[in-house]
């Protein structure tokens, strides 16, 4: 008897779910209706699959080993995209670099997102003095020339690892998010459902994360996708300047940084050009998908 009642509930639940398409479903519908966004998503999935599955086909040790007799070879059947100054296969490095760059972009986005979200929610939920203090700090942090600071931090940090790199970049990537969430949070806290939760005895942190946050989640998802592209750009840019990933962890920026030598720019284009184009394509795809998600989050802008 109890089981059937339970089953009955499940069916009802399922039925109601159909009537209330989740945000994920809305996003999917929006992307399906936008051919370029769909194309971007497919291309992006393909690129990422290739990059993440490449270890199954390419030996990583092989890619990073130096072959003195094979320096700066033009593309051939052996080396699809030629080889670099150490005779290493550029194509293999490209795949490895894409994987590293994307993973680090995701990590930075998540860490900065989580931190910005928490700070923004606290400022938005409590308002008043708490908000005032947090906002003064963020105002200050936002006017700092962050790129210079990141570079300085990277140079002086004693034990330089990928993890430290991620932390340093994240430390300068959360201000905007905190500000965005705070301003929406301030509007949200005036609504009675927040007051209702307070009168029902729900503790503040629970209201913040379980009442307020779900109402801001689409904003967060949109913002995260769009900043993901920016963060990948930042990482590769820093690596290009020589302040990115530690040596031994190739990134797309590592390959592009070969282009700081005019001879390579002109005569050995296969070393850096594919990586530059790959970044470009990845950025465009992520942003296009991001725009579609943004439209999905706002009923007035939806195409579907």
């Amino acid at each position: 008897m109890k089981d059937t009642a339970y089953l009955h509930d499940k069916q009802l639940m399922a039925k109601e779910k159909v009537n209330n398409p989740s945000f994920m479903k809305t996003i999917w519908r929006e992307i399906k209706n936008d051919k370029i966004a769909l194309g971007s998503l497919i291309l992006l999935t393909f690129l990422l699959l290739a990059a993440y599955l490449s270890p199954l086909f390419i030996e990583q040790a092989d890619v990073t080993r130096v072959y003195m007799g094979n320096i700066y070879k033009a593309p051939s059947a052996d080396n699809w995209l030629g080889s670099d100054d150490g005779g290493r296969d550029v194509f293999g490095q490209l795949m490895l670099g894409a994987r590293n760059s994307f993973t680090i972009g995701i990590c930075v986005t998540l860490i900065a997102g989580l931190f910005g979200l928490t700070v923004g929610l606290i400022a938005g939920f409590y308002g008043g003095t708490v908000d005032n203090i947090i906002m003064r700090i963020i105002d200050f942090l936002m006017v700092l020339p962050s790129l210079m600071f990141i570079i300085v931090f990277i140079t002086i940090v004693p034990q330089y690892t990928v993890f430290n790199f991620i932390l340093i970049v994240s430390a300068f990537a959360w201000f905007g998010k905190a500000r965005l969430i705070r301003s929406r949070g301030l509007a949200e806290r005036e609504l009675d459902y927040i007051n209702a939760s307070k009168t029902l005895g729900t503790p503040g942190w629970k209201i913040m994360f379980f009442e307020m946050f779900p109402n801001l989640s689409s904003l967060v998802i949109v913002n995260m996708t769009l900043t993901l592209a920016g963060n990948i750009g930042l990482e590769t840019g820093l690596t290009f300047l020589g302040f990115g990933l530690p040596t031994g962890t190739p990134s797309l920026g590592t390959l592009i940084s070969f282009a700081r030598n005019p001879d390579i720019v002109q005569n050995k284009w296969w070393v850096w050009l594919p990586a530059a184009l790959l970044i470009l394509v990845m950025m465009l795809c992520i942003n296009y998908v991001g725009q579609a998600i943004k439209r999905a989050s706002d009923a007035r802008q939806r195409l579907a």
Binding site: M13, N19, D192, N195, A196, K198, G201, N215
Partner: protein, 308 residues
């Protein structure tokens, strides 16, 4: 003993100005009001918008901080308690909100909405919780399977019933109803009001009923307090206030109720004109030189007026 006794309650907001943003003045949203609620009665707070009636309700439940005065609930002063101690009384005092649209979280289904207070205060198995919520939902006249629906699938009246069900979950003693029907269609208003009266008997509730609608207040309330600019103008039973208004402001308010009977319309116009005349000549005997109300003075056992 009275259930709730409010003593000289004050809620002031600082106005900051000048170069260093120091406090230059205060907005006196609620400026020293006192009243008592007996168990089982409905007490109405009436006044124009901005007179401080909502602020009073919010201060009692703890959404606004009281600047001064006492809020004695069954003898304990809530105004002086810390937020954490106040939690004990959350179960006993609940609130029904004005706007049924913003007072329900659109991301939560009805089950989660109504079960929220249960999860805060009572340890129940999911099965028990489900039963309890379904019983409540049925009591407010919705079908039990609707607990899996989301707020946008309900009409305004239904949403307000959900709000009421949520307030009833913890079996409170006092419910503060802040304009509970002003956002609803007139046709639905009566339904919700009658329903509120039904459950009052059933759950033995005390209402603090806040409204600007004199008709609704007359229908619902045993005793009434009229507020103006954060002060009490007149307090008494519904009969005292409606049939024997003493303060100028109350008179004007009562005279403003539209008259349906055409025969009496002319009479009413004259009444209004005479009150207006009185307003012009006798203003000083009703308000002190700052335009502030005097303290309440009782003129009978139930009736008191702010007169000099």
């Amino acid at each position: 003993m009275s259930l709730l006794k409010v003593n000289d309650l004050k809620v002031h907001y600082p106005i900051r100005g000048g170069f260093f943003r120091n406090v230059v003045n205060h907005v006196k949203a609620v400026d020293g009001i006192s009243f008592e609620l007996q168990p089982g009665e409905t007490y109405g707070l009436v006044g124009e918008s901005g007179c401080g009636k909502t602020t009073t309700g919010r201060a009692i439940i703890g959404l606004n901080k009281a600047t001064g005065g006492e809020i004695l609930f069954e003898g304990t002063d809530l105004a002086k308690q810390k937020r954490s101690d106040r939690r004990t009384y959350v179960k006993d005092i609940q609130m029904i909100f004005q706007d049924p649209y913003s007072s329900l979280n659109v991301r939560k289904n009805i089950l989660n909405t109504i079960a929220e207070p249960l999860r805060n205060f009572e340890r129940m198995s999911p099965g028990e919780e489900l039963k309890r919520v379904q019983a409540l939902v049925e009591r407010v006249g919705l079908s039990p399977e609707s607990i899996y629906k989301y707020p946008h699938q309900f009409s305004g009246g239904q949403r307000q019933r959900i709000g009421i069900a949520r307030a009833l979950t913890l079996n409170p003693k006092l419910i503060i109803a802040d304009e509970p029907v002003s956002a609803l269609d007139v046709s639905v208003q009566a339904q919700v009001l009658n329903f509120m009266q039904e459950i009052q008997k059933e759950f033995n509730l005390t209402y603090l009923f806040i409204s600007h609608d004199l008709g609704i207040i007359k229908h619902m309330c045993d005793r009434i307090g009229i507020m103006y600019h954060g002060r009490f103008v007149e307090e008494g039973t519904a009969d005292d206030v409606y049939n024997n208004p003493q303060h100028l402001y109350t008179k004007r308010l009562i005279a403003a109720i539209p008259e349906m009977d055409p025969e009496k319309r002319f009479e009413k116009t004259h009444l209004r004109q005479s009150i207006n005349e009185e307003y012009r000549t006798d203003y000083d005997s009703y308000f002190d030189k700052d335009g502030r109300m005097f303290d309440l003075k009782s003129i009978s056992t139930t009736h008191s007026v702010a007169l000099q």
